[in-house]
Amino acid sequence: MMEVIGQLGDGVLMSLQPLNLALILIGVTLGLFIGAMPGLGSVNGVAILLPITFLVPPGSAIIFLAAIYYGAMYGGAISSITLGIPGASTAVATTFDGRPLAMQGKARLALVTAAIASFIGGTVANVLFTGFAPLLASVALSFGPPEIFALMLLAFATFVGLGGDDIPKTIFSICIGLVFAAVGFDEISGAPRLIFGDISGFLHGINFLVLAIGVYGIGEMLWTIDSTRGKITSTETKMSVKGAVEDAKYGMKKSWKGTTIGSFLGFFVGILPAAGATPGSLMAYGVSKLTSKTPEEFGKGHPEGVAAPEAANNSASTGSMLPMLTLGIPGSPTTAILLGGMVIWGLTPGPRLFTDQPEFVWGLIGSFYVSNFFALVVNLSFIPLFIWVLRMPFTILAAMIFVLSVVGGYAATRDMHDVWLMLGFGVGAYFLRKLDYPLAPAVLAIVLGPIAEPTLRQSLLLSSGDPSIFFTRPIAGPITVIAIVLILLPLLKVMFTKSKGNKPKDDGETLA
């Protein structure tokens, strides 16, 4: 352990060298804005800036890219909260409660909570990474297809098993999402599915950002115009340091549990290759709601609903570095690009990287700590600017949201087809919301569907079609059982309360 601390110290010192420190500052600031721009996520940011890194030594190059990655994780929350458009796929869950908070004039609270939760998530992940990287790599290896499917089942279960929501409508919403997730080429057989005759735009599947921007950008905008006739200025919040400190205290008091859940769950999901930060943040949201004493407040502006996914996406982004560095397998699309970078810098990611290139590895880990700290500082200092955006009347904001949504929808795949699709989803989401359908489960399903389906089929191929494979394996078994209990829990609850004759009052409107 002492050895680890010594190496980490060297790593931190390395990232505090003038060149590296400058790169970290530039990286987190750039990342913050890249993350905040809808359609531009950390993937694009890292891809665009990769060539610049050939000008500096490999150690500094990856520090720069990691700083961008970090900044983007913080930045994604900003447009989710202020405009209701997820700035990046990883920040979709942040819109569920961040946007309602902003509409209630509590944008500052949401932004401050998001920043602090991100910092805590990042810190927890860094400590776990530093202390247990090799051990965790072997955990990631022990997750085969049945384990990953069991985990996906658990994620769905957390969304079904939520008290307060209308369960049939939740299930309907999940099914819609799963159908959308099935569009495009089937990974196992290679055959195209649900392409409506021969519309080539459907061949690449429905990008989940297209759905999320449609539902939350356009749908939310229509809903706000409908319910307020445009006579709303979303926030009155003034920016003062004292107020921000109070917000920070209040936000953390309300959401320490969600932050903790997000930090650990996010990291764990992040280290599994194929998952990444987006499923991690959605699952953290679901679990926080499930374990909350006031689940009915989720989706209507609960700080915990902001803190959990934000802690999780930062934690997961550090986590997804782990399979990349130790196994040579990217845990997320962004790390796939980092991996490409490492190859050209002449480094071979894989089980031997820690022993062959300790300086590089510890320099990178050290930079995680430094980047995380500066990302917090930079983010907090820009909050007044973001709040200023919200002082505009909604009639002006709506036009901005529309433009940014169209840009974001196009940028995701560079295909006009997806812009039309995005607008269609927006209108559809507006009507579904009028009918009180929860939309978050559909978003969850389109993220997790493409992971759940192939792993289910791989598992069944492994077992020659015998579903008991999900119960008999030592890791998959318990997870599957918990998932099934969670799914059945609300049913049992309903039967129990019905037999007593007092059906719980269904509260109508949920934002998520």
Partner: protein
């Protein structure tokens, strides 16, 4: 002495002039906007790594006035990428990094309406060999032991690969048919995921490119048994080829670049020149050596011929597979 020096200077000057003349001629056409660099595989796999490496070499050497923008289209065993090229709105700015699914996918899915002969050959960058790997805890050290173990498992031997009809599955099927084996084949999204699940013992053996299994091999997690190349591979030089053992068989994955159908001759000449430069670069030569790719440069004409032989070969392999 003086004259030789002057002559030498003159020669240098002339060479410089000639070089500048050549480069201005060679660039009769230049990309005027970012180049859509389509990759026939998802992010993170072998093909993706190569494409990103090529992009980096081009960026590093400032070889293109406009950047190559990697665009992963791995869906449907490469069908998505082939369709994207077929429908490219701007064929002069659309190129594709291919694998052997360039041959197999149009054969297996004739309804896609893809005729690879309409595509524009650009360059063959090398071929990637295949090796049979097994986890070290199986205590299998030779190809013969492996055959015995598979037979003993009686249909329960699990191998992973990148999908039915994909390169490694053709080799796996070849093994089944030529050694009278029964193997359970699990498709994965990419070669990287296969390597990881072999190291984690989710599957029992795999047919993987050396570049994909290298990290785990060097760490001692996986053991190479036999290679499907013409010669022994430098990375695993103690491992015999299947040719040495008993059967006349070899199989490689092509790492080639092609242009969209309908690309103008000028643009094709530009890309052919560009990828020749990349191929000759120190970085690419180093990459081929470290990732165990076999060098196999081909210009456009040779590539077209190669396509025909590969289409015929894959037709035969797929037929034998019962596809």
């Amino acid at each position: 002495m003086k004259t030789t020096k002057r002559a030498f200077m003159g020669l240098l000057g002339a060479t410089a002039l000639a070089a500048s003349a050549v480069s201005s001629v060679a660039h009769a056409w230049e990309p005027t906007k970012p180049i859509d660099f389509v990759i026939m595989a998802g992010a993170g796999g072998g093909a993706d790594q190569i494409a990103r490496f090529i992009q980096s070499v081009a960026e590093k050497g400032k070889m293109t006035p406009r950047p190559l923008i990697p665009n992963n289209k791995g869906g449907g065993s490469g069908a998505e990428a082939l369709i994207a090229l077929n429908n490219a709105r701007d064929p002069d700015h659309t190129i594709l990094v291919t694998l052997n699914s360039f041959f197999t996918t149009p054969l297996r899915q004739p309804n896609l309406g893809i005729d690879i002969n309409t595509f524009t050959p650009v360059a063959m960058m090398g071929v990637d060999p295949f090796v049979l790997w097994v986890h070290k805890d199986r205590n299998i050290n030779t190809f013969e032991d492996w055959q015995a173990a598979v037979k003993e498992a009686d249909g329960e031997w699990v191998m992973g690969g990148t999908g039915k009809g994909q390169e490694d599955s053709l080799v796996t099927t070849w093994l089944e048919q030529n050694y009278d084996l029964k193997i359970k084949y699990i498709p994965y999204k990419g070669g990287g995921a296969v390597a990881k699940d072999l190291a984690g013992q989710q599957i029992m053996s795999s047919v993987n490119n050396p570049s994909e299994a290298k990290g785990f091999f060097e760490n001692g997690d996986v053991v190479p048994l036999v290679s499907f190349s013409d010669e022994r591979l430098p990375l695993v030089s103690e491992v015999p080829t299947v040719k040495e053992l008993d059967k006349d068989f070899s199989y490689y994955n092509q790492r080639a670049v092609v242009g969209a159908p309908g690309m103008s001759d000028e643009a094709a000449a530009y890309y052919q020149d560009l990828f020749k430069k990349i191929y000759d670069s120190e970085e690419w030569q180093g990459y081929m050596a470290s990732e165990s790719l076999s060098p196999l440069w081909m210009d456009a004409a040779a590539q077209k011929e190669y396509w025909q032989t590969q289409v015929d070969r894959h037709k035969e392999l797929l037929e034998k597979m019962g596809e």
